[in-house]
Symmetry: C2
Subunit: 365 residues, 2 copies
């Protein structure tokens, strides 16, 4: 968002004029419900324009009886221990190959909840909008969010919108809290020596696709974000009664960071075995820009630590789900090097996988 | 935040050097746990520096077993229907007379939950930090948030941190979701003709104090934000078994907007009776800057719609709480002008209170 944008202005009345496209977003559809083309500070003021946003954009997009109830919050009937996670989404660009910040916010949130062993039931959404954001862009992103939520079987039950001045934001930030019902206790403290490490699919697609799109680099054929709801696949392992110790999605910091963190937290060694699944186009792109795909974020993958006797069954269950159809066994929890994660090469040499240092890939989620 | 700031740099080792003060925040205390003076993109990268923020700042400030558990989210044992609200806090300046964005985020969230008839039990917090924010500022705000949460009897059970580049944020934005247990069903649909309208105290202090501080205008003696946790006072009405129809806090848009919205939603007339309680220093300051205090946000006030036979008892209960010690009766639900709110002057003339149009007071919460 740059400062040379014209100030927002009423559109004149008939609602059918074309809206000037915003090169950043590449959108040009009009917003028939609004006299404005762009977000103004008044859209966050709590008055008429805030009401218009809520009534004519958020409510139809989210189809939520809780939002219709018009309370300061929502009431939910949730069984079992309630699980809750929260995430702020600041990805740039707002729309990227394979997704956008709206669908990503849903996928990232329901996945985090599934990683807690919980079935996602409801979301809340807080929007921080930058003055001057085209309303058509906001509409597209909110609709995408609504569609992703419906596909994931969750509803947005409460929300908030704030508007900050031009130059104090970056179009849209979305903070989402996900609520769900705990199915099973999983966590790093349950990891045992001998557990098998399963991965739902190839790593690094999301971060690589977002980075290339942001930098304007050519995107290889077929390279798109893996952003997806993995909760049905992950929860299927729990529903089958398998001895699942720990679930984790390799977002910021990627697979290597997850392995290093879970080794440290469990106090056991975690050994991953090469070759780890990385799509050739992801490997090529990472080599081009100097990234290690094992440290690049995914938004539609997860790691499952499973007792050895249940590993084969777990793989079969995962592979029955489209998001995990190529799920491989990628490693094992070992008694050696307690607290440390390693990668063992095909020739048997082991190297330590450390936590990510520095920030090679900002703003990918 | 301006672009001329020097890039963040390690501090050299002994951790005892003074940190250069940031004029915006007016803080100069060092951050002994960090080699950095300012937030860097790597603090949001999911690696070592993110871990340092979590382990050495957020965990001590929030004292939360759920955060210590190190899951992707938290598990909570909540009874009754779960109530949930969400809000993004973008107030500027970050520190204002009578509070800061950290304590405000707690007060605003627990108050919203109380307005749903629910006892606050847990919070989640998502931070969007701007690269270059002094870590000493972040530390002060996070500690303030932790103190406010402890005072309100709630814990921060899950969190997230993202860092955006300089010029893409405004220091700190905090999105909070509050979870609680529903004590009683309240809402606009329960409002009946004859209900009395009670107000917990004078209006307009918060918005006026923030505005004057932001604009660098002189602050009259005693004019500070009313930011406070009103949940004990509000929930005491429910615990006493009174016929409370609806609770609402006059934040964005102020008391007039609340009256207009609740009139519209209930389908009844809402008549407020002058004089409404406004501190003289608030009235003077509002006159100076051309604002109507009835449209100015509070963050430590609320309105209760109560059946007429319970109104006196409700006032007595409110006045037993420090945050509501001067609570007056301010109006009544009437059969005339259905769906419309009015203000009746002391001479008996009624004027319509409309929804706020435009945005006279951005970024006050």
């Amino acid at each position: 968002m740059s400062d040379e944008r014209p100030p927002p202005a009423p559109r004149g009345g008939d609602g059918a004029e074309a809206v000037s496209a915003d090169p950043m977003e590449g959108l040009s559809c009009p917003v028939p419900w609004s006299r404005y083309e762009r977000v103004t500070l008044a859209h966050g003021g709590g008055g008429r324009l805030t009401r218009q946003l809520v009534d004519q954009l958020f409510k139809p997009a989210f189809e939520s009886p809780e939002l219709e109830a018009e309370l300061d919050g929502a009431r939910l009937a949730l069984g079992g221990p309630v699980a809750v996670t929260t995430d702020a989404f600041t990805v740039r660009p707002l729309v990227f190959p394979g997704g956008d910040i709206g669908s990503l916010a849903v996928h990232g949130s329901v996945n985090d909840l599934a990683m807690c062993g919980a079935r996602p039931r409801a979301l809340t959404a807080s929007f921080v909008l930058e003055e001057g954001l085209p309303l058509a862009t906001l509409e597209r992103l909110v609709r995408s969010m609504g569609e992703a939520a419906r596909a994931a079987g969750v509803r947005v039950v409460a929300g908030d919108t704030k508007v900050v001045e031009r130059g104090k934001g970056d179009g849209v930030y979305i903070a989402v809290t996900a609520l769900g019902e705990t199915l099973a206790e999983v966590g790093p403290d349950r990891i045992e020596v001998g557990d098998r490490v399963l991965l739902s699919g190839p790593v690094g697609d999301h971060g690589t696709a977002v980075l290339l799109a942001r930098e304007g680099l050519p995107l290889p054929e077929g390279l798109v974000s893996d952003s997806a709801d993995v909760s049905p696949a992950a929860l299927a392992l729990l529903e089958a009664g398998l001895a699942v110790r720990c679930l984790r999605d390799p977002t910021r910091g990627g697979l290597a960071t997850v392995a290093a963190e879970l080794a440290a937290k469990s106090g056991h060694g975690v050994r991953l075995d090469a070759p780890l699944p990385v799509r050739p186009e992801v490997a090529d792109a990472c080599e081009l820009v100097g990234l290690d795909p094992l440290y690049v974020a995914c938004e539609g993958r997860f790691v499952a630590f499973v007792a050895p006797e249940d590993a084969e069954r777990a793989l079969a269950i995962l592979r029955a789900h489209e998001v995990a159809r190529g799920a491989p066994l990628v490693g094992e929890v070992v008694g050696e090097h307690p607290g440390v994660a390693t990668l063992r090469s095909e020739l048997g040499a082991e190297r330590v996988l450390d936590l990510l240092s520095g920030e090679p890939l900002p703003r990918i989620c």
